[in-house]
Structure formats: C-alpha cells, structure tokens
Subunit: 310 residues, 2 copies
C-alpha cells in the first residue's frame, strides 16, 4: 500500500522487476510472482508483468537488467502519453456539456471519488487528466471531492492536486454526493477504475457504485476514465469475476492526520475490539456507466463498443 493507483502500480512493478534483476539476474520468476500477488484487483499490474516477461523472453541473463530498465522506462513514458490522451478525449465530452449549460450556469460542477490524478499515475492522471485538460481549455470548473474513506485519498490527495492547479474544489464526505446530485449541484461525475470488464462493468474504489446509482437516478452522466491496459478483456461480468481485496480493519478504526501541533498522529474512532470489515473496491454495473473514456477515445460501457479496442 505504499504505491496506489492502477497505472502507477503497473509502472512501479516494471521498475520492481528491474531492481530484482539488478540484484540477481535469476530473480525474474520470483519477482513476477511476488509483485503479481501484491494486489489482486488491479489488472494492468498483470498486464505489465506479462509484457515485461515477453520482452525479456529468451534473453541472456547478462542482458536482463538492462533490458528490464529499458521496458520500465518505455512504460513510464507511455503512461504519461496515455494519460494525457485520456484527458484530451474527456475534454471533448466536457466541452459539449459546457456548451449546453454554460449560458445558464457559472461553472461546470464535477464530482469525483478517490484520487485518479497525477499522484495515481506517472503524470496527468485519468479522471483528473480530463479535469486538467478542461481547466486548460478555459471551462470554469468546480470539483466536489469525495473524501473517500477509509484512506481519505480524496481529502489528502485530490484536494491537494486540484489546489496545486488552482482548480476550485470542495471536500465533502462520501455520504454527501447523493444530496448534491438531488439538488442540482453536480453536472457530471468522473472516476477512475482499477479494472473494467469487456462488458463495461467498472471496478473502482469502494463507494463508486453508490455514486453511480445516485447519478443514474438524477440523470447525471457518470464516466469512468481509464487506460485500455486496465480493461480486462477476458471477463464480461465484473460482479462474478473480479476479486475484491479485503484490507486491514485498522484502516477503518484508526485515522491518521495532523495535530494542532503539526505532528502526524493516528487516532482510534471506534470502541476497543469493534469488529471491522474493509472491502477495498466495488463494481459498478455497466448499465450505470454513461461512457468509458480511454486514450483511444470514448466508448460505451458495453461489449459491442469495447470490443472495438481488441
């Protein structure tokens, strides 16, 4: 859990292979296994490891570390280009919405969940890449940021990122999005994804599904922005086929933050010995997803549309 965000996990794993081979050229299989087991939900982690193995296949032991570094650096550069392209394709969507409502509204209100920004990728991000491109293009934006319990990536990462780019943003608890959507305060939702199926089911940080339901009931478009490498073309039904990580209950019962004195401190928010359950992700069924924004363009959340990417 030191590295988070599907794209960043992938690129970091590629560098992990390089470091393992630099130590010992015979480490390839053990490094691949160890890295694959770190995060069961992320699919592009497996894609990166497979691609690295194929790249290194049949090479001399001596050549392995150098070649592993080469492929890691290549994937790092690719990730930046891919994320920027996601932003450009998503920009088209936001420009269209803004043309529709810009005359009656002061700003386009976007709701996002968790952190799908530059801090989750090498640069740009996925959902936030769309927001960065729209901001660059001059669309007046305001972003509602779900704090995203239990790890508060929205509060600690997304608010920080957006403020760095001088994009107006407001932190809300995860409970608030439904009310904001009911009362006309959200124009569009954009989230990232850890794994999306060929059928268009979107697995993302726990709580995403609840926001998609609220968007659906309030006629608010709901998009997932993601690199094609996070699409799992081998599965259609995400509810059936995607394993959902369970994480340490302490993530829920304890919260880290900064004290008035400026120290980082962890505080317990539940009585001693409270039982805790902590699923990391959920699956938003395709029928609640307006579209899938990728580096190759925007697709409908269904097999017929996503199959074009094969």
């Amino acid at each position: 859990m030191r590295v988070r965000g599907a794209p960043l996990i992938g690129v970091t794993a590629a560098y992990g292979i390089y470091l393992a081979l630099r130590d010992d050229s015979k480490n390839l299989d053990s490094a691949v296994n160890a890295l694959a087991n770190t995060r069961p939900t992320a699919v592009n982690l497996r894609w990166v490891l497979q691609r690295t193995q194929e790249y290194l296949h049949g090479l001399d032991f001596n050549a392995l570390p150098g070649k592993a570094l080469e492929i890691a650096q290549l994937m790092e550069k690719e990730d930046i280009a891919v994320c920027e392209a996601i932003g450009e394709h998503g920009l088209g969507i936001l420009q269209e919405y803004w043309r529709e409502i810009g005359e009656t509204k002061k700003r386009l209100n976007i709701l996002t969940h968790c952190n799908a920004g530059a801090l989750a990728t090498v640069d740009w991000g996925t959902a936030l890449s769309v927001i960065y491109k729209a901001h660059e293009a001059g669309i007046p934006l305001h972003v509602w940021v779900d704090e995203t319990r239990p790890r508060n990536q929205g509060a600690s990462l997304t608010c920080w990122e957006l403020t760095q780019q001088q994009i107006p943003n407001t932190l809300i608890v995860d409970n608030a999005g439904g009310h904001l959507m009911q009362t006309g305060k959200v124009d569009v939702c954009i989230v990232g994804s850890d794994r999306t199926t060929l059928g268009g089911d979107v697995c993302n940080k726990i709580g995403t599904y609840l926001k998609a339901l609220a968007a659906h009931h309030n006629n608010i478009p709901f998009y997932a922005a993601l690199p094609v490498s996070t699409i799992d073309f081998s599965i259609v039904d995400g509810m059936e086929s995607i394993p959902i990580e369970e994480r340490d209950g302490k993530e829920v019962s304890h919260i880290s933050g900064v004290t008035a004195e400026g120290n980082i401190e962890s505080v317990q928010i539940a009585p001693n010995n409270t039982a805790v359950s902590n699923y990391g992700f959920d699956v938003t069924p395709a029928k609640f997803v307006t579209g899938i924004i990728t580096e190759k363009g925007v697709f409908e959340a269904n097999e017929a549309s996503l199959r074009k990417l094969l």
Copy 2:
C-alpha cells in the same frame, strides 16, 4: 450539537423550557425561540415546544416552572413507551423475514446508518429498538454499522450500544454498504429519521439516500423507524420543503479520536485551507422506502397510508 437524535432533542428541549422558567418565569417566549432555532431540520423539536406552550397557556407565572417540569417528565416517559412500541411493531417485520430466510441463513443481516438507538432517545431508540426487540425475541442478528461521516456516530455510538447488548455488529465505512448489498450480505436496512413527510419522504442523516438507492436496486427492504411526532403532516414533498442544515466544515476536515496513549485528540485530514461543504441530512424519496415503522404500527411510505395517523 451536545444533544443529538430527534426524540432526545425534543425531550431535552422540554427540560430546557423548565430550566429557563425556573430561572425566570417570564422566559417562556425567549426560551421557545432560542430552542426552536437550534436545529432547523428536526420537526419534533417544534412539536415539543408547541405542546409545552399549549400546556402552559394561561397559567399563573408562579405555576409555570412546576408545570413545565411536569410536562417535560411526561414527555420523557412517553418517549420511552413510544420507542419500545416502535421496536415491537418492527419486530413483527423482522420475524416475517426470518421465517422466510431462517432455514437457509445463519443470521439476519441488518444494515443501519448513524445512531438511532437509546443514545438518540430517552431509551430503546427507534431503528435500534427494532433490533433490540428482535434480539430479545431470539432472532440471530448481525448488524452492519455505517460509520456515518462526518461525526462517526455509527462507529462511536451504535457499535458501542450494540456491543453493550451483546448483539454481533461490524463497523464499515459509509462507502461499503452498496458492495455488501450487491453481494447478498444485507437482508434488511433500518434507519431512523429526523423528519418524515406526509408523502413518506424520509429526511435522515446525510448518506441515508445512497443506502436506500442501493437497497432498491438489490431488492432489499428499506425501513425507517420513527415516532409519529417526527412526521411533518404539513408537508408532502421532502425535497422541496425540508431545510437541510449546513454544519461546520471542521467536522469534515478534522476528526477526533483516541491516541495510542489514551488521549482524545483532533487530527486534520485535509490540506490547510481546503474548502469544505457539510450538509447534515438528506431526503430519501418515499418510493425508495419499503415502510415506516411507528409506535402506532407499520405504514406504507405514502400519503394514503400515513394519513391514517391524523
């Protein structure tokens, strides 16, 4: 915000009138106004104040403090009886579900949001009264407890209450309920309410609406348990007519808990100067509410049914 829970707010206000009159018998109007303005969303606060005023109407100044104490004590006793009756009516519903699933399941899984327990009333609670009565009746229960950001009443109060009664319970983040419902881990949802309209719209702690949507999509019954005094018979449409309190943003950006050394400490979880929005409640439209459990019986969430209470 020292007192919370619609029923407890009401009874506390009645004692507040008594204390104000004990200080000075001329304080009635100013005390009523001051108390009415403390919480715009709660409706039974207004009902208690009106009932107290009617009870004291036309009395000698000398008699006011004694009579105010009398009505406060009466309402305190009534609240206990009302909450216990809510539990008994709700028990009937849970017994029916348990008859349906008890042969194939080990326990009845209930999800609740916030704290609608003894700590929100004089005793028993509303939603938790149903759970306490079902536990007493021998139904094997397990309760999923939403932590209920921003104030974490689920984590700090509901888990504590249930554990005191030896009812198995598991703390979850507010984001998790959708996933649990999608995967068959919730059999019924029961929440409290701060104000319910004649049309059956249920205003309750922020985030309730999102759980009702998830219950609706997963065919899980969703009940609100509440005293008749929290029904606002003067309004039908909750979205239009119920003012939603906005609270201090610090409730979101700062969290209080216990440090490893056992001290209560507040920590900041968002960057300095992060903008925060903090709505306290939301409205769940009647169409997502399976039934309204009151001390007078269980009603459908619509005007035709609730009108019988008039």
